[in-house]
């Protein structure tokens, strides 16, 4: 399939925007049925258009693919520059899949101001895909920031009781982080052109090209790299969110409508980890190699894993519980990324996808009972397994995938990350592994409290089981979880080259395959030195 002659990335990015504009001008707000159907159609078309990317993508290719470039603001050296590598590819596909599910799962959950709701969902999708496609830092910042606006309204208009608080907290936290990143971008820009503060610059033409700036930044003095690393760090760490910047997440997740939570968990949080992988690591290798920086990052990741899991255990509200579990899971992703080896980075990227699938599905599942009972309190439920067998089955699969049971996706991701962490330091892996144990604890306990025992609350006695539509929103995610759990190779194939490049950039051993990392670490140096001699 040859996609090189059409601006496929722009098409994928702007189909939802075009759909949103059509909704604004062509659909009167009373025709809710038509609006829903049209929004679903747009999201489905977007998914259909994005899927060919998977087959057309050259897995062995170096550099970015499907590149589009046009001048946007020549005075500043800003280009409209799109292009993707394997990491962006999987995230874009996740976005289009989750985007369709988010539209489809909202049919009954959203009953007022429906037109605005679907317009915002579609706008959000455009901004999210655009963020993953950008190869120009300025353009990236534009998408990154503007993405906050639709999410703010999704939480603020259709959210729960404390929605106003949650919406503005979400906006302020993420904005505060990203404006500091903006200063980092400006500093980088000046270092490239003429110098910045007391640092001598290079005198290049002004540019925001990510490829160019990555090459330039990697050669900066280590001290400046550390400053800029932390400027970007605030932007990304708040979005991830890493401990101690995570406090906006439980509020936003809990108050958002189901589709908002799903998108927030599946895609928006990935923006932060994507930022680390795409910018922080390759751009500031000196800073990333610095033992104190790595130490800080890994410590925050481990605290996130363990603290997040412990806080999860005591939650009474299902959505809050899942939100805190996200803090723990994204700690794993960060641990993998900052293991700075092939297994860690690949595992981190894979776990980004896995978390999107599992946690997205968990939020969908909570949305199902919330629509029926209008409460998210765990204590309100109990014994649902008898009344809603299908629901219980889906919930079990998704919970198992989230806790990392073998044959399901979470296992592959967490295992690879632990491999990478183990190769660096035994105790990193040890601490992280306790997070897995706690993860099993809070999910199984949650499952037990909701599904087992007798139905004690009469309100639950007549709950209908999953509808066909609800199953259709869940099934794709469950299938993806099974696919990645049973046969993750296709995904690894796609993300291998970009991961190799990142690991090479930070000076790790790039070509070391994941399986070897396991063997190499425990082997003593003497044994390695002796082996050639013993083999005549």
């Amino acid at each position: 399939m040859n996609l090189s002659n059409i601006p496929i990335l722009s098409i994928v990015t702007y189909i939802p925007l075009a759909g949103a504009l059509a909704l604004v001008f062509l659909f009167p707000k009373e025709k809710t049925g038509a609006i829903k159907a049209f929004a679903t159609l747009v999201a489905a078309i977007d998914l259909a258009v994005s899927l060919p990317l998977w087959w057309a993508f050259d897995r062995a290719g170096d550099g970015y693919q499907f590149v589009e470039k046009a001048s946007w603001i020549p005075s500043l050296g800003v280009n409209y520059h799109f292009g993707i590598d394997g990491i962006s590819l999987v995230l874009i596909l996740l976005t289009t899949i989750v985007g369709l599910i988010a539209v489809y799962c909202s049919y009954s959950a959203i009953s007022e101001r429906q037109k605005e709701y679907y317009i915002l969902l579609l706008l959000l999708q455009t901004f999210m895909i655009g963020t993953f496609c950008c190869l120009d830092l300025f353009l990236f910042y534009v998408f990154w920031e503007v993405m906050l606006v639709p999410m703010y309204f999704l939480i603020g208009v259709w959210g729960g009781q404390r929605r106003l608080y949650a919406a503005i907290k979400f906006f302020l936290y993420t904005l505060a982080g990203s404006v500091l990143m903006l200063l980092g971008i400006i500093a980088l820009y000046f270092y490239n052109t003429s110098g910045f503060l007391t640092y001598k610059g290079l005198g290049n033409a002004p540019s925001f090209s990510i490829e160019h700036l990555t090459a330039v930044a990697a050669g900066m003095p280590a001290e400046l790299q550390i400053w800029l690393f932390f400027a970007f760090f605030f932007g990304f760490a708040i979005k991830v969110p890493m401990f101690p910047f995570h406090t906006w997440l439980p509020d936003a997740h809990t108050e958002a409508p189901t589709a908002g939570s799903v998108i927030l968990a599946a895609i928006l949080l990935k923006m932060g980890t994507y930022g680390f992988v795409r910018f922080s690591l390759p751009m500031f290798p000196e800073a990333v190699r610095n033992p104190r920086v790595v130490g800080t990052m890994v410590a925050l990741a481990l605290i996130g894993i363990v603290y997040g899991a412990m806080v999860t255990l005591v939650q009474k509200d299902m959505k809050r519980l899942i939100a805190y579990s996200s803090v723990s899971h994204l700690g794993f992703v960060m641990l993998g990324i900052f293991a700075l080896n092939m297994a860690g980075v690949q595992g981190g990227v894979l776990q980004m996808i896995n978390h999107g699938i599992s946690t997205g599905a968990l939020f969908l599942l909570v949305g199902v009972v919330y629509e029926r009972r209008h409460t998210r309190m765990i204590a309100e439920y109990g014994g649902l397994a008898k009344q809603m067998p299908l629901y219980a089955t889906y919930f079990l699969i998704v919970a198992l995938s989230s806790m990392g049971l073998p044959l399901l996706n979470g296992f592959i991701g967490e295992f690879t990350i632990l491999q990478g962490a183990f190769a660096r330091n035994f105790w990193w892996a040890f601490c992280a592994a306790t997070g897995i144990v706690l993860g099993a604890a809070y999910l199984l306990w949650l499952y037990q409290r909701i599904f087992f025992g007798e139905i004690t609350n009469p309100a639950n006695a007549k709950l209908p089981d999953l509808t066909v539509r609800e199953q259709l929103t869940l099934a794709p995610l469950v299938l993806l979880a099974l696919w990645i759990g049973l046969y993750p190779k296709p995904i690894f194939d796609v993300i291998r080259r970009p991961s190799e490049k990142i690991v090479q950039a930070v000076g790790g051993t790039a070509l070391e395959p994941p399986a070897l990392a396991m063997k190499a670490a425990p082997a003593s140096p003497d044994a390695l030195a002796a082996s050639p001699a013993s083999r005549p």
Binding site: V146, L172, L183, F190
Partner: protein, 483 residues
């Protein structure tokens, strides 16, 4: 210094002369017409602003403008032309936004429009001022007209209070400015800015001169409402008729920035190390106080007053960054963006005013999304732009200003500025929350053609500069001083 009039001088002065003549005509007509035919007067005022703008465009093409006229006191470089265009833009928007408001008030409209135009004449002269005396006289022409405009609703105590406050504090600051000018004249013995620069280049750093520079700075900081000379702003903004407030928040500020930039870039550049530090501190204090105080306001005009104080703080970053071209570009692009977005926001306030004179509160915006979705979306655009969220004009403007500060070595100030602009989102979005998340009066929104036109122009400016900034940036690049 010799003043000799040439025929070409009249050509270069055509915009100012035209606006003065039209102002006088309106004043005369108002005596005859009283409180009748006000739509015609508004139309006439709009036309005169339009004709003046056309004359500015004509002047821009004349080769004569290469040399300063009136003994070097009046210069028509690209910088001046840019500011004249900006001044006329805000003047035109004000006239249009006033038509319905003034029509409904029990005071004759002719005087109102005449005063607006006279104030505009002062600002046009300020943009071209190249001599301490001409700058001062122009500033006073603008200021005196403004004092009267603030008190235009004579029977309203708040309006009178605003005028009196504005006058007393304004007169005081003019005195300070004049004192500074006289000290600088005493130290140098010349009034023209280029001559002053030449003289100061070889002059030693004397206390007399430093005091003079400091006092000039203080006088001008009053006009742009920077801390600690900002206390008049909230009261004056709250008490003045809303279209006048909208005008104050853009026109006079823009013109004051023109002379601030010209005086400090041209004449006092040598002593940058001395005044740069003061400006940096003032900028920091202005950003912090403006944004923090705005958090506490429930009157939306007061909130935007503090927001405009904060914005003055951002724009001072451009004054600091004057040694690289980024500083000047930053001021220009930010003021352009600010004119559109701030005026747009004020126009929405005019549209929604519901509680009588000077009672405009954030709750006026309650449920606007239900009453009129386009109005709510446009207001959201202005708010996003004010908060500096891309892709809006405000973001491009702030980008240039932050860049200028970083480039000039004030990284700490840039960090403070970005943090403060995140804080500002909190109060801007109180309005957004009121519009979209709460229920409000079910009354239909009544707009007029003129108000709709103003809002459309402001929205288009805010969005277009944000999405396709290149043509505007091209223009700005040519807007350097002295060319």
């Amino acid at each position: 210094m010799t003043f000799a009039f040439h025929a070409s001088d009249w050509i270069l002065l055509a915009p100012e002369l035209c606006l003065t003549a039209m102002g006088l005509l309106l004043l005369g007509l108002s005596v005859v017409l009283g409180k009748t035919k006000e739509e015609f007067l508004a139309f006439l005022a709009t036309v005169s602003v339009g004709v003046t703008a056309a004359l500015v465009a004509f002047v821009a093409t004349r080769p004569e403008r290469a040399t300063p006229i009136l003994g070097g006191a009046f210069v028509v470089d690209n910088f001046a032309l840019f500011f004249k265009a900006l001044v006329l833009l805000s003047l035109g928007l004000t006239v249009l936004a006033s038509a319905r408001y003034v029509g409904a008030a029990p005071y004759p409209g002719g005087e109102y429009y005449a005063l607006l135009l006279f104030s505009g004449v002062g600002m046009l002269f300020m943009a071209s001022g190249n001599n301490l005396i001409s700058i001062y006289v122009a500033l006073e022409l603008m200021a005196l007209s403004s004092y009267v405009l603030a008190g235009y609703f004579k029977a309203e105590p708040k309006s009178t209070e605003a005028a009196l406050k504005y006058f007393i504090l304004g007169a005081f600051s003019s005195g300070v400015l004049l004192y500074g000018l006289s000290l600088v004249y005493g130290a140098g013995g010349v009034m023209g800015l280029p001559e002053l620069a030449k003289l100061l280049a070889s002059a030693p750093r004397s206390n007399l001169l430093m005091l003079g520079i400091l006092l000039i700075l203080a006088g001008l900081l009053f006009k742009i409402a920077a801390v600690p000379f900002h206390v008049w702003t909230p009261d004056v903004y709250e008490g003045s008729p809303t279209p006048v407030t909208a005008f104050f928040s853009v026109g006079p500020k823009v013109a004051a920035y023109a002379i601030l930039a010209r005086i400090f870039y041209v004449a006092f550049a040598k002593f940058h190390a001395d005044w740069g530090f003061v400006v940096a501190l003032v900028s920091a204090a202005t950003m912090v106080l403006g944004n923090v105080a705005a958090l506490l306001q429930s009157n939306v005009k007061r909130m935007l007053a503090y927001s405009s104080i904060a914005n003055a703080g951002y724009a001072l970053l451009g004054v600091l960054g004057f040694r690289t071209e980024w500083g000047l570009w930053g001021i220009l692009v930010y003021l352009l963006a600010y004119t559109f977005m701030n005026f747009g926001a004020f126009t929405l306030i005019i549209l929604l005013e519901s509680k009588g004179y000077a009672g405009e509160s954030v709750s006026d915006f309650n449920g606007l999304a239900k009453r009129s979705m386009p109005a709510a979306v446009v207001m959201l655009l202005f708010l996003l732009s004010l908060a500096g969220i891309p892709p809006t004009a405000g973001f491009i403007g702030k980008y240039y200003l932050f860049t200028a500060a970083m480039k000039a070595g004030y990284a700490w100030l840039a960090i403070l500025a970005v943090v403060m602009s995140a804080v500002s989102l909190f109060y801007y979005f109180r309005i957004a929350a009121a519009m979209f998340f709460t229920e409000g009066s079910p009354a239909k929104l009544k707009s007029s053609y003129a108000l709709s036109a103003v809002i459309a122009v402001c929205a288009a400016g805010t969005l277009v500069i944000g999405v396709v900034p290149q043509p505007f940036l091209e223009v700005l690049k040519s807007c350097v001083l002295g060319r």
